[in-house]
Amino acid sequence: MNLDDIKDILELVREHDLAEFEIERDGLKVRIRKAGAAYVAAPVPAGLAPMAAMAPVSAAPAGPAPQPVDQGVPLAVITAPIVGTLYLSAEPGSRPFAEVGTRVKKGQVLCIIEAMKLMNEIECECDGEIAAVYVDNGHPVQFGDRLFAVKVD
């Protein structure tokens, strides 16, 4: 399931005038609910921006809650591919690779995760603009932890 799949699903949701759509497979769960859809059965989860549902939901322990983002803009969340210690800049004291508002390209280094004394560069998966930084410099991250949100171009 990638961004294109999600776009296709959203097309279908619009076309068929669905109120809700949910799919769950192999540990991945996507749930879409259109703005304005009445929901009777269960309490409405608070603070869930409609578009947030588009982000691949990580099964890892939740990191910081996603910050509110512009409605209607696709959002990609970059998660930690390995466990280790996270560094936001190349060297202590130097400028961070990326901050909120930084324009990023696919393949651009966003941060470094140190595992077994090896520095692993974590690259951006798409072109866009950093919408959120979920992690602090020098802190440990687990596999699947949210690192960055990127407003996709």
Partner: protein, 458 residues
Amino acid sequence: MFKKILIANRGEIALRVICACREMGIKTVAVYSQADEHSLHVRFADEDVCIGPARSADSYLSVPAIISAAEITGADAIHPGYGFLSESAYLAEVCEACHIKFIGPSPNVIRLLGDKARARRAMKKAGVPILPGSDGPVRGEEDAIKIGKELGLPLIVKAVAGGGGRGMRIVRTQEELPKLVKAAMREAEAAFGLGDVYLERYVEAPRHIEIQILGDHHGNVVHLGERECSVQRRHQKLIEEAPSAVLTNKQRHKLGATVVEAARAVEYSNAGTFEFLLDGTGNFYFLEVNTRLQVEHPVTEFVTGLDIVKEQIRVAAGERLSVRQSDIEIRGHAMECRVNAEDPVVFTPSPGLITAYSVPGGPGVRIDSFVHSDCTVSPYYDSLIAKVITYGRDRNEAIARMKRTLEMTVIEGIKTSIPLHLRILDDPDFLAARINTSFMERFMPDKHAGKNKLAESA
């Protein structure tokens, strides 16, 4: 003593280690893959770290992920459990380099005993009885005939690159030896692209007997008696017991002493198991050493009253063993059934949601498990969901308790091997302890089970 131990494993054995740590007042770190997020070992560890996706290679088998998890949590030791990285000399080495104690033997010992040929030579030197064999590939027909005469009959021809019974032949007369060696070579060449074969004495219907040892860093090694694990299917043990119904006290002490000597010779520390084949005339043949905790360690704990995992932790921290050989007394009889999430007839895995789970108690019952009602058995890992261990004053009482425990166990939502275990527990040969590594063939669905006769236990 350690302040915090990371458990590089999952499932029941991760919980088992957590139990030992809690009893010793040591903090624990659980590591888990995304598939195990809701597992009990995550719930009951003091800290937990997600180390990767469901696939073992990217999580439980990832040395960098595990070392990183230990570093970010400040764990001062790693317990590897069994399976996964438990016999990884590499992990043990990296631990050494990172100043994290690996709870197991030294990397050198793991490497030595993990190499079949080197282990065989070391054991031979230490006086451990080994299976006579060609000590390497035969160089041709004439060489085979010469070696065959030296070894005696029956023999087995095995492909060096072999596996799954291919490239194997049993030789019962010297006349058929050249023909069968050539056939095995052809088959090995076709199957593996390498025609090298070697010869070994063939043991008919052997029993699988193993000796549990414990060693510390002060030169003390003790053995905790034997386990018999002859009830196995494709080298997967299904039922284990201690003591073996056929060992005399004299045999037990002699084999135990031999193993302790061999362990001292290679400077073995921590827990280990020396596996042997026992033939029909009372001869033991060394198979291999498992340089880790075994799945079936609870049967030994039941009859000795010792806690093997705690001893592992103590000796890894540099303490002396808490017992001397003279303190160790085997009392009663214990048996373990490995309850797997699989079809009890055709052995296909049966992962899924356990909708109901209840196991009876009563005297002499120990259940090591990580499942519960409303828990999902993941398809990504091995199918062991519970170890049911029973204890009795004698073998019959242990069996009677095992039967009633399994009969009164409720597991709904998935299939389990319990019906198979109950059939075994009713088998007259099993009840009379007339078992060997071919015993399980009678319960196999395929009529080509005979092929398994070729494979000795490993």
